[in-house]
Point group: D2
Chain length 360, copies 4
């Protein structure tokens, strides 16, 4: 991706010399997620174009120099099926990393496919090979977890693990998820697996809502067919007039934020995770929706190493119960990458995949 | 107070027959707080006028029928100097009281001087005697705690105890308190006593800010003299460019809510406690101030029995270090009660007191 | 139960006059749980014998005087299938109820079938009718939840809801449950539904472990067949050498407590819920198992109204996925009640049920 | 320190070549704490003797190579008065560092003066110069904070910051601290500054208890003069018969652990921080002291970067209110280092200091 607003080009790079502790991944699948559309539209600041997009990717270790271990200290070998955590160079020393316990706000952190320039090397998954520099956290895919399942979850699953941690569900809670994209669907699935009493997904289009039900939603509401007042009435009806215990915003809309404040019950929790970019201002009545409601609103930014590792655990346990592989609806080769971006931008599929070895 | 917008009248009531477990308080001091001004201006809904205002009060037990005990099971006797928790009839059985752990949202709860009608009896402190019905939580004032100290803290202190609980301070935190009224001043004092590294109070007029410094503020900013951009710059300067760890909203202004979102650091906490009434909408950018900031916003409504009991502990320990008695700047007799309300409404004093036995 | 160590007798009582807000339950099923065996063996102090045992019970409302509502304020009527919370008269005013937020330690609280004397009335479920005094928390059984499911869960389910709250599971956690009784089995089921990665149950006999697998356990270990060292090795093997994230003690054995300390990982959590009575001292090395391990040990006593209400939500959602009805293996009439106690004492069944209208 | 049980020797080392990001500290003061006595007695396993002891130290930056910044990104320069965090090489990638959020249990972490061999370089404060390798966290001492104040706090202050975090005090809590050493005294001081209602220190000898009062204790009990039953009675008396809200174990004795379980109230918290080495087993009744008490026991191991940074904040705010400089009672030169160890071992002083440039 040479710059925003221009077509993505195929370029050749020299294979890197590996330093000790470095590795080379042969990419099996990478993803085209909403962030890549934002990158293409130039909505993120400070991006060092040209970049190789594709922050979350999976594949096979093609080359390893020296000793490489996973988070539990087990050795990794060439040929292993692995995934890696795209966020790297988190410093571990700054206030954000330490006293504040918000490593996702570390100023030194870099992200594959987003903040790493193509000039620095193969730091993105829309490439046949990805350079895993020393210190990148790598995990072996558990038996039974396919590349398709991992990448179907992808960055949305990692964010959803973080969301669920912030949501602190209690058994029997009614959870409303706003948004039926990759984040919303994984959040709905994990809310279901975390003991929610009922999971309601509010979004569009209908095809995604149908998939959300397969992922674990009990009730879905199509925002194209149901006006806001009716949605509120429905949630109140489902909760004995009380409102949702937990609302999860994964919609990225200023109106959704306003609506979520009304859907939550007194003393409930509202996790804001979909405002990855600036989509404008919301109008909020602090008396009615925050103070009197005794509401907790919790912003949720990015994900940490621990969320990546938890996501692997979740896939190990639930890969056959939750159809993550259905989220990645279509796969594209590098030759069709601009089509993939267009389709992702049109929201026709929840997520497009990239197989850089395919000529499809 | 026969109705909103009309003068308060002095009326005589028949002394109640005490049921077993009931008591009669001889009022020493009650308060005129912002809530009473709201009641006078008709800004609260569902108030059963006529009412006897004065929700927080203190005095001496004049009559006790049967056995009366405090929260620790110790007997209370006629002549004891006591305070009582104005919130009563919290049911302990509904979802709010139990599964949700938000008893301040219990639909059955009633509040002396606010939701109790004068037709029901002496349920307010702007009276020479107050009826303490069975079940009202009563605490003996510790030795050394004067009526003036207790009532100077008053409902603001109880709210501040709740705020500090919600704020979950860590040693060394920079705390910004918005508002220099009774709530803000007690919040500043308690933040200081809870291990804050620096406490900043933003408010007006200067006389209150001077008192806030006596209460424990390290830095004060006069909103009449310092424009918002300068206030933000000052907070950033005090925190190495990072922002406040905790912001406490005790100002009751839509603009204050917007400003507080900017003052908090990434991963910080913002407690909203001043929007007791509807003062209009705020404009919020969920991306910039909540999601990307990974911010926690916590509404804080009313106070619980536990906060009342903690407030008594706090007074026992700190009554000689924190000048709560200075918050209640002027005392009025019942004959001057309309003057007291006018002065409170003008914000000329942080809090006016009522001594119903005084003819001053 | 006239006294400890003597046979239970069948006695007739006069049907109570209902006060406003009171009700009479026609008992469908009550339970014989470990607590009843303790009562029979005289292991609990302060019990006002004679008592009518049966603390957790369910049935149909036979008579209601005045208005009766559930926790959400919905009216209850004669003929409704209901359950009630056996803990009543929790005061809501003492330190335990308020500032300490530990209502299960309220000194005023009373429990049906345990701390209520038969001299006071029909306060126990081993009776054809149970008196529900005003203030007792009553919930309608949701559609599809049978009496058998509710009572199969019974007091063990309520305790398990409390345990899971204390355990604060994170997605993917390995949870070890010590004990395969009614509490342990419900805890295993709820850990599974709360997102555990793997649930291990350690107990005996094999029949209970088989049922534990039906309830949701992934791995079971029979303590009669597997020595402690092997159990530890197995848990380490299941967790990459790290130990369990969460251990739940529901065994009531001094050795189990010692073993659980070794099974938990560094920084893990250990919930102690099975030591309802004194079974002797344990030997603990505070350096090795608490300090260096940075372990959290959390005692868990009784259950609160909120846990009862959550249990009803859990049954509503999961009654067809978790076979609680299989825990209550055998049902006895009042004529066979001493047999029921003997069988419960022998631990031949996880739980015996009482149908006071049956002549079986 | 060539090995356990032999005298410490003075050796000369070659001044290290600094890599980029490395620095050399001219030591002003280091400490002789209980850990050094343990090292001398060979009670810690895996120590790579010979070592240069002195894990916590402070001084002036003598040489800096390349760019050196503190945790807030501010540049550090030669001549700056600094302290550094002795724990280094925490990996930030393993389960302990990430998913478990227990970085003090990271298997890669190393500690100056304890786990770093003298063969590796100047990794200890009992030397005129200390090598600060790249990645070590360094903080400038705030204005007004003397070397004596910093080192008087020392590792005990860092541990105390961690303890207070684990203790989660509420305003007005009664806190009992077991142990009047460097950890206990700092814990008492910080409990006082965190809003405790009363702070009780239990320990010996009297001189330390006197200092504990200067640090902030309200009540002290000399264990040589007061038998355990009397201590329990006193704590009950101070708390209306209820017990301490929070107990902090900083005594390192098996009996202290047993006693602390009895001193805590129902639903209280007990932080175990003094069992740094194995001092034998304790006898615990899980029914009486954990389960029925609904107690939280929280192990507390080591300290994290964030605790170091918080400690600096605490010193900045409170250095003139809390006499940390009095904890380091006597200062020794390198020539007297064996005397310093003997005195520390005899517990005659709370802490001995080392000034490696002194010939005293």
């Amino acid at each position: 991706m040479p710059a925003p607003h221009v077509p993505v080009e195929i370029r050749e790079f020299i294979e890197p010399e590996l330093p000790p502790g470095g590795a080379l991944l042969r990419t099996a699948l990478s993803e085209v997620c909403g962030t890549d559309v934002h990158l293409w539209h130039g909505r993120l600041s400070g991006v060092p174009y040209p970049i190789i997009p594709g922050h979350v990717s999976t594949g096979t270790l093609e080359a390893v120099r020296g000793t490489l271990t996973d988070a539990e200290g087990r050795h990794l070998h060439e040929g292993d099926r692995v995934a890696f955590f795209d966020v790297h160079r988190t410093c571990g020393r700054c206030l954000a990393c330490t006293a504040h316990r918000t490593p996702t706000r570390c100023p030194s952190r870099r992200v594959y496919g987003i903040t790493d320039s193509a000039a620095d090397g193969l730091f993105g998954g829309w490439a046949q090979k990805v350079y895993l520099e020393p210190g990148v956290v790598i995990a072996r895919l558990p038996d039974g977890v396919s590349f398709e399942s991992y990448i179907g979850g992808g960055c949305g699953l990692l964010t959803a693990v973080h969301i669920i941690e912030r949501a602190r569900l209690t058994l029997g809670d009614t959870v409303v998820v706003q948004g039926a994209g990759a984040v919303g669907m994984s959040a709905a699935a994990l809310a279901r697996k975390s003991g929610a009493g009922q999971v309601v997904v509010v979004g569009a289009p209908q095809s995604r809502l149908d998939l959300a039900k397969q992922m674990g939603a009990d009730v879905v509401m199509n925002i194209d067919a149901t006006p806001p007042a009716e949605r509120l009435a429905r949630v109140l009806d489902l909760t004995g007039g009380i409102g949702a215990d937990v609302v999860i915003e994964a919609a990225g809309s200023a109106r959704a934020f306003e609506e979520g404040l009304a859907l939550a019950r007194n003393g409930g929790a509202y996790v804001i995770a979909g405002h990855y970019t600036n989509v404008g201002d919301s109008t909020v009545n602090a008396h009615e929706h925050i103070n009197r409601k005794h509401l907790d609103i919790r912003g949720c930014w990015g994900s940490e190493v621990g969320h990546f590792l938890r996501a692997i655990e979740v896939l190990a346990r639930y890969h056959d119960e939750i159809p993550w592989h259905l989220i990645g609806a279509r796969t594209f080769g590098l030759g069709q990458i601009n089509d993939a971006l267009s389709i992702a931008a049109s929201m026709a599929v929840p997520k497009a995949l990239v197989d850089p070895w395919s000529d499809a």
